[in-house]
Symmetry: C2
Subunit: 396 residues, 2 copies
Amino acid sequence: MGKRVSLAGWVHANRALGAVSFVVVRDRCGIAQVVLSESLALVPETVVEVEGDAIASAQAPGGVELHDPSFHVLAEPAEPPPIEMRRPVPKETLPTMLDLAPVALRHPQRRARFEIAAASLHGFRATLDELGFTEISTPKIVASATETGANLFSVDYFGRRAFLAQSPQLYKQMLVGVFERVYETGPVFRAEPHDTARHLAEYTSLDAELAFVRDHFDVMAIVREVIAGMVRAVRERAAPAVELLELELPEVPSEIPAVHFADTGVEDVDLAPADERRLCEERGALLFVTGYPMAKRPFYTHPEPDRPHYSNSFDLLFRGLEIATGGQRLHRYGDYVAALGDKTDPYDAYLQAFRYGMPPHGGFALGLERWVARLIGAHNVRETTLFPRDLNRLTP
Amino acid sequence: MGKRVSLAGWVHANRALGAVSFVVVRDRCGIAQVVLSESLALVPETVVEVEGDAIASAQAPGGVELHDPSFHVLAEPAEPPPIEMRRPVPKETLPTMLDLAPVALRHPQRRARFEIAAASLHGFRATLDELGFTEISTPKIVASATETGANLFSVDYFGRRAFLAQSPQLYKQMLVGVFERVYETGPVFRAEPHDTARHLAEYTSLDAELAFVRDHFDVMAIVREVIAGMVRAVRERAAPAVELLELELPEVPSEIPAVHFADTGVEDVDLAPADERRLCEERGALLFVTGYPMAKRPFYTHPEPDRPHYSNSFDLLFRGLEIATGGQRLHRYGDYVAALGDKTDPYDAYLQAFRYGMPPHGGFALGLERWVARLIGAHNVRETTLFPRDLNRLTP
């Protein structure tokens, strides 16, 4: 205060009020008001460096404003931006915001969502680092249809047909045989033919897998630690974004409540979106549903020992939406051979791991965009994806 | 010591020596010797839990061994493993090791390489977090040929033709307009038609980009911090791997030396691998080469103001190999329109960012597998990739 200071950023707003003008400058930390005795022809989004005297001002954002400024223009926009940055919330529709993403994301209310995402990623990794997990990088181009075999994108791989991995599932299991506890954060690809508010063709999957578990409850205990770590990281590392978006972060109980599928009142073999909403209303914002029928789970799922049409699997619901799925996996070679029947060929490498001794293990995958959507109360996962990909959208 | 303890892991070796037998059990932390008065029929790679008395023993690995054990078998291999884990260094050729990756990676000497990689990733992110960078997740499926346009994989995207991103370059630049300082760690894809020891079809790129730079030297200062942070993280977080592999970690000078391309004695417009080796021998294990001729750099490269056939770009050489490349980028809309000429169409979204005001900026990309290869002295980047992808290899 009282000193000559300099800052650099974008002209967020520029208005004349009688004898004085105000130029509001935005950078990644916030906005600052600059007061001038003359009006300057600075188009919004002009990139400037400004030097001025820092003067206390109760009305100014942040309680300080710059007087007696000198401006240096670093780059001039070719035209005024198509979005009014100074509105507290942009008035444009979601498709327009997505089309204009390179500039729309500059809006502080939009940028804040991705600061929440970055903090969440940090919390995920920090929690698992602390628990002795090793980070892995597995291939996204794969030779054959894995997991369910549905919704795969195909790639021309030097004249051969290959596919984009719909998850790191098979690789993280193989690597449990190497590191015991592994995680990966990265893109996964689903050629999702339906245009819904909860599906994307490409999203960020937070995957973990761990060995020497008794059953899926050991995995759920890790999920609880991860969720708590992500909330903590958001609170500590993205405090300005939490404040700007007026978020109410969830309290993570020391044990997240769990309900068995058989006790949900659902007659079908899977939950419908309405069931997920109802269960969270009835039982808590964070809720595990366990024991899904084997009929709806992939081939590597471990059955429930005493009721083998149910499984040692779970989904995590958060504020009415499934955000994570996981469970105990089969670990005996013979069980895989039996589960795959005459379809073992595409799984040759995967089966190698089991042929040479694999411990009981399990894991989970959490969708980053869904997690952030539930945190900020967005209905559509496109709201929390920088550059979403779907049936109709491949740009920007 | 003297207590009853339990551990779980894989049977690493099993041998009888007269009246006693030794079973060596391996887990992610190391190996432990179990002493028995009878020999047990445990095939290597059997997954066991073992309880025993911890007894000090100077000859045993780690100075302790387990006596009077009771074994519980968790999973039996279908057959003995094709690789002898108890050899200090596997004798198999690289192609065999890659074919057998799910089990070959369990060898402690192999596993250690990827502990170095995980620690390096941590160091990269931790350094940039500290410097105010925001982590981003950008799309890997893109609409059109970007950057150089060469070596792209094509994807069938709901019946349309799309491509796999060969780098996050254009997205990280757009997002510099949002967050000022960004980084991303993730897969990039190159349909590299040559089968060399330094190229992969898919690798992990560590990308960063920052705004408000004076020129490429500001970017190089960040690269120096990142390299120092990665070395520190490897030293602190992967100490057992460093010891096992007998690594000599580089000293990172407070300023990494730099030589201008014009002073390298190279007549061509780019360095050959032999030039890279020679320059490191002459000038240091870590060396920046700056000012590469514009002719060999992509369209977004900022020219050197006083000698515009040179560029404000750099490569970082480490022990004779280029491991990172970067530079200052163009930031004025008009400069991009001029650089792209009549080829602006595929860059519509990218140009939006510049149309609405972008600060002077620059950045770099560092190849994780090359970095680890140089750290451990491996000639081939396939040695430091969990499941490499190349012209001839798409599995495991």
